[in-house]
């Protein structure tokens, strides 16, 4: 038993060390953040490496700008080429660590008809939220009535977690140049991933 534990440990060091060494210094995946997704499973933020990432912070009870933010994220996703879409993960992390339980996040997904598995709606603990917001340059504060003021910024990271662009969404949604960047980074991620998979999957 003991031996097996040691072996497992050794394997983990052996397989993760070279990969960790390659991670760029400014990668978001340097952050040690555990995400609990709407389906109740837990995964590390760094497990999203390999895909381009569109990430934003929100909270499900938000009634002002957030629904617009969600709609605009969906709009960006719709406007991607199929190839780019394959390379992009969309991550929405809740600011409300207390009230956005997996059940609340599932209700949010249903309400906004988010059913694509490339979309991850998740919560993190208060420290995780703070670290992620800091890295994304998002400013936020909780008000006494449990609503949040927060900057509505969508950030694009490449497949190594390096921030490549961000967009403050206004009434007209993301600008054309942001869309174009998402498209090209997404396509690059999808192409790399196909290269990684020795046996192409049937389409």
């Amino acid at each position: 038993m003991k031996m097996r534990v040691i072996l497992v440990c050794l394997c983990m060091i052996w397989t993760t060390a070279p990969r960790a060494a390659e991670l760029p210094g400014d990668s978001l995946y340097r952050l040690d953040i555990s995400l609990q997704t709407a389906d109740g499973t837990t995964r590390m933020l760094s497990s999203l490496r390999g895909q381009a990432l569109l990430v934003t912070l929100f909270y499900s009870q938000c009634s002002s700008v957030c629904p617009l933010l969600t709609a605009q994220l969906q709009d960006i996703d719709r406007k991607l080429t199929p190839q780019a879409r394959r390379g992009v993960t969309v991550l929405m992390v809740s600011l409300d660590a207390t009230r956005d339980t997996p059940a609340a996040l599932r209700a949010f997904k249903d309400e906004h008809r988010i059913d694509d598995p490339r979309w991850i709606v998740a919560r993190a603990d208060a420290t995780g939220v703070r670290l992620l917001a800091a890295a994304l340059g998002i400013r936020y504060r909780e008000l006494p009535d449990h609503t949040f003021d927060h900057s509505s910024v969508v950030t694009l990271a490449d497949s190594d977690g390096v921030i490549r662009a961000s967009s403050t969404l206004g009434l007209r949604g993301a600008d054309a140049s942001f869309l174009q960047t998402v498209r090209s980074i997404g396509e690059a991620a999808a192409a790399t991933r196909l290269g990684d998979e020795r046996l192409p999957r049937p389409q």
Binding site: D26, V65, A134, R139, Y140, R141, F148, H150, G170
Partner: protein, 257 residues
């Protein structure tokens, strides 16, 4: 056995640091920025805060035991290119950085990591504001023109002077030193300070940049010293460092919610 040593070292560091932490509060406090629309006060639970800012010597000891925070090893996500750049080497202060000067050119991430290793955390903004509202005799001296003038004098000093050692100024009402007049200090929730310009109106498209009421509005516009702190902190990014930007640590009081 391997686990034993760092735990012992951390316990030592924590007890040494905690010994120099001063109790403040609890307090019902009127911060300079209204915490929410139609609310003027915040309740600040009792907490402990370092008597002085963290020094170069203390931060050097931390970097030596936590080499991931050396300036030549820290990932660029966590610190900009000027991080600890005034030290002679990654693990030497040299002649330009004195042991008892407050450590500056540290990022928010680095400050947090130091405080965690020292058995604490960064103070919250309201905690910092409560502690710094005191002068030598009053817990809240903010309406005193002398309090304001002294701090504004510091802001008006020309840059480029070497920083004095920590603890050179008289202790305030609580026994805390250097909250004003030495350096800027990181707080844990600096990113919650969102300051609006007065010109922003209901129809302003900029308003969409924030979801919610958007920004704080000042309820005491005469309090320039604190407003300048807020303006400074609200413009920072977490990985940023500054020649006059340092920190001190805080911790919760045991048994107080």
């Amino acid at each position: 056995m391997f686990l034993f040593v760092p735990v012992a070292v951390m316990a030592l560091a924590a007890s040494a640091a905690a010994g120099d932490r001063i109790p403040v509060g609890p307090a019902d406090f009127t911060p300079v920025l209204a915490p929410a629309p139609k609310q003027t006060q915040v309740h600040v639970a009792a907490f402990l805060v370092d008597r002085t800012p963290v020094t170069n010597a203390q931060f050097l000891a931390f970097v030596r035991t936590h080499p991931a925070w050396r300036r030549d090893q820290v990932p660029s996500l966590f610190a900009d290119g000027e991080y600890l750049s005034h030290w002679e080497a990654a693990d030497e202060l040299g002649r330009s950085a004195r042991a008892q000067q407050p450590v500056t050119r540290v990022s928010w991430y680095a400050a947090r990591a130091y405080c965690a290793a020292a058995g604490g955390r960064l103070p919250g903004w309201y905690e910092w504001e409560v502690a710094s509202a005191a002068n030598q005799t009053l817990a809240d001296a903010r309406s005193s023109p002398v309090w304001r003038a002294r701090i504004l004098d510091w802001y008006a000093q020309p840059g480029g002077q070497p920083l004095p050692p920590v603890g050179s100024q008289p202790a305030n009402f609580y026994g805390i030193q250097d909250l004003q007049g030495l350096i800027w200090e990181w707080v844990e929730d600096f990113s919650s300070l969102m300051v609006s310009g007065d010109s922003r109106t209901q129809g302003d498209p900029d308003k969409l940049a924030y979801c919610g009421a958007g920004a704080l509005s000042a309820q005491d516009r005469e309090n320039y010293p604190t407003l300048m702190r807020i303006a400074y902190l609200s413009a920072l990014e977490a990985r940023q460092t500054g020649r006059l930007l340092g920190f001190r640590c805080a911790s919760d009081v045991e048994g107080v919610p």
